[in-house]
């Protein structure tokens, strides 16, 4: 049945999506356009607004001369480390906050929140001093540990609100069957909040993906640089090669998007799983 109301709604939605895509997508397009331009256009005659595909080989050879692969690898190590650790610790905290009333519950919630208001620049120096003692300077693991502090609480919050929505009866029967709590969490609750796990994973992953301040101060070896520091090194004392930076930035954004698209399927899978059980 097609009613005028439905048509209007569909039209409004279509226009809305177009507007959102234009706002979110234009800078991407412009990055690509900049990457495929040559200096004389960018700085003298004016940027060509369409994508000059013929400049792709030149851009590619410029990018291939850089250690992009290594930077990318370091970034992936950091991002995955941050994701795994944040989810593991965050689901424990989220479950405790969602399911138990215990002394100190308010304090824990408050402490988790506190982490979000700490400017990185502020804990930089004490963390640095601590990492010297722990041998974590110039070390990717150190960067993971420094970053999880910021993304663990977000994961915990997201998982807690998702678990709040899971009816308690579902785990009750398992508890009666003498299943240990941790088993209840991993085998019953977590599958039910899959979409939120996926969302938390994406957020933690991207936080690790974007890590910059700690990496720029804690790392000494160029071979350990993540992509963000590599990109910043383009901003030279004298000039910034725009097309190369934009090309590299696009290259670096792609794996993150791919990760999201992969996880996104989980969001849908989680939904169906939840529907079956619910």
């Amino acid at each position: 049945m097609i009613t005028p109301m439905k048509i209007t709604l569909a039209l409004v939605r279509g226009l809305l999506i177009a507007a959102l895509v234009a706002f979110a997508g234009f800078p991407i397009y412009w990055m690509a356009s900049t990457a495929l331009s040559v200096n004389s256009e960018l700085y003298s005659t004016g940027q060509v607004p369409w994508l000059q595909i013929q400049n792709l080989p030149a851009l590619a050879s410029e990018l291939l001369a850089l250690p992009l692969g290594r930077w990318l690898m370091n970034t992936i190590v950091i991002a995955i480390g941050v994701t795994v650790l944040s989810l593991a610790l965050g689901s424990l905290a989220g479950y405790a906050l969602s399911r138990f009333k215990f002394r100190g519950r308010g304090v824990v919630g408050f402490l988790l929140f506190m982490t979000q208001v700490v400017p990185e620049a502020l804990i930089l120096v004490p963390l640095y001093a601590m990492f010297i003692a722990m041998g974590l300077l110039n070390n990717l693991l150190g960067l993971v540990l420094a970053n999880v502090g910021f993304s663990l609480p977000v994961a915990a919050f997201i998982l807690k609100s998702a678990m709040d929505a899971v009816p308690y009866e579902i785990e009750e029967s398992a508890l009666i069957d003498n299943c240990p709590r941790i088993g209840v969490l991993t085998m019953i609750i977590l599958p039910l909040v899959m979409p939120s796990i996926a969302a938390a994973a994406v957020i933690a992953f991207f936080a690790g993906w974007n890590e910059f301040l700690f990496a720029s101060i804690f790392l000494r070896d160029r071979s350990l640089w993540p992509a963000s520091v590599g990109l910043a090194s383009f901003i030279g004392q004298y000039e910034t090669p725009m097309s190369a930076v934009m090309g590299a930035a696009l290259v670096f954004s792609v794996p993150a998007i791919v990760f999201f698209l992969l996880v996104q399927r989980k969001i849908v899978a989680g939904l169906t799983a939840g529907a079956v059980k619910g």
Partner: protein
């Protein structure tokens, strides 16, 4: 996913092993077998595409005289260099040797993190005045690495096309810029003009300040911000800003690349920036010229010093390296990679370079009278002091404040803070 757990120590051990292996072959040749040693050298220039490699290769010539020494880069992007050095030195770590802009150099020296390197310059007779500020509180804690002096540079073909001559004062500069734009469509002049670029802008602005005779401090060490000269310098900068000859909103890297692409007639830049413009762009090095600044008095220079860290466990080797650096061999090696920057000793620019770069000569001449961008006696506080000055200038430019009033306010702030 396995983490790379290479701590600083194991990495150093590995380097030691490598350098040891390299050195062992030479032991038979060398008179005395010296302990292999690795020196870590921090410099933001290592990241610069072309210049970084050239400078590094110059330093690697040290291997010929000291085969037991392995040099290792600590490469840090210039935007993060000061933060990182400050953090590392403050924590008792850091490189053995660092090349630092004068401002950072003073702060690190002031905190007592630089060792006495007078042994390195013992018996060196030809050290020039670029090394003077390397002596702090009577102790030599650094030698000059490079000094980049400022000049008015111009694109000669554009000037020829518009039939204008290099200007000798501000009004001529504005007129000439407008003439070039009218004749060729190119941008007249470039200049830093945004607080977002504070670190570079305040150093560039010292050219205007010094050019109008400003001394930010009087003979007794009192800050003199609110002077007729400073008012004149700000009014002059405002006049240039309002003349619409610069690309408002452009960052300096963008403006430099525009110059490189032959799209700009004039700029005030230092020799490092000019060397960058002269290499690898549409504008041929032979078409780039330099003239004295269009002001009454001499302008400024940026200075980089080399220092040795008190945290280093290889101070002796580091000082030996510095001794080589100021020796004729080291200076010659550095000269070839440094363009026309003034070095620790007066090594002449090579004939080949001079012939290919008509702009270089002027820079060498201007280096004789240029002044440091730091405020004498207030070196460590120069950044914060200049921030009050630049914020006053910003009020003049963006909000149309009267320079007199803005500087009076800045003086009041400076008096209460410093």
């Amino acid at each position: 996913m396995a983490f790379r757990l290479n701590s600083r120590r194991s990495f150093a051990l590995a380097m030691l092993a490598v350098s040891g292996a390299a050195a062992s072959g030479q032991i038979a040749l060398a008179q005395s077998a010296k302990e292999p040693v690795t020196l870590v050298i921090a410099n933001s220039q290592w990241v610069d595409a072309l210049r970084g490699k050239n400078l590094w290769n110059a330093l690697l010539k040290y291997k010929q005289v000291a085969p037991h020494v392995t040099l290792e880069q600590e490469a840090i992007p210039s935007s993060e260099f000061d933060n990182k050095m400050t953090t590392e030195f403050g924590a008792g770590l850091g490189p053995d040797i660092a090349m630092m802009q004068e401002g950072l150099f003073y702060s690190i020296a002031d905190a007592g993190y630089l060792v006495d390197v007078s042994k390195a310059v013992e018996g060196v007779k030809n050290l020039n005045r670029t090394n003077d500020n390397g002596v702090i509180n009577g102790k030599r804690v650094g030698v000059a690495w490079q000094r980049a002096v400022y000049a008015l540079i111009y694109n000669k073909p554009l000037l020829d096309a518009a039939k204008v001559k290099p200007p000798s004062n501000l009004d001529e500069l504005i007129a000439a810029s407008k003439a070039v734009t009218a004749a060729t469509g190119a941008i007249g002049f470039t200049s830093r003009h945004q607080i977002a670029d504070f670190g570079g802008w305040f150093m560039d602005f010292q050219n205007w300040a010094y050019g109008y005779g400003v001394n930010w401090v009087d003979g007794k060490g009192k800050l003199t911000i609110n002077t007729p000269q400073a008012i004149a310098a700000m009014a002059a900068f405002k006049k240039m800003y309002d003349a619409k000859i610069i690309p408002i909103g452009d960052t300096m890297p963008t403006q430099r690349t525009r110059f490189k692409e032959s799209k700009v007639a004039f700029s005030i830049d230092n020799s490092g920036g000019t060397l960058n413009i002269a290499s690898g762009g549409a504008l041929a090095a032979k078409d780039l010229y330099a003239a004295p600044l269009p002001f009454e008095h001499p302008g400024a220079h940026q200075q980089i010093f080399v220092g040795v860290s008190t945290h280093s466990k290889k101070q002796k080797a580091a000082i030996e390296f510095l001794a080589w650096l100021v020796s004729p061999d080291g200076q010659q090696a550095l000269r070839d990679a440094s363009g026309p920057d003034a070095l620790a000793t007066d090594v002449p620019i090579t004939e080949a370079f001079r012939a290919a770069n008509p702009w270089a000569e002027t820079f060498a001449e201007l280096a004789v009278k240029s002044r440091s961008t730091l405020i004498p006696g207030r070196e460590v506080d120069t950044g914060p002091i200049m921030r009050t000055v630049m914020e006053a200038l910003e009020k003049v430019l963006v909000a149309g404040a009267d320079p007199k009033i803005a500087l009076a306010e800045a003086q009041k702030q400076a008096d209460s803070k410093f």
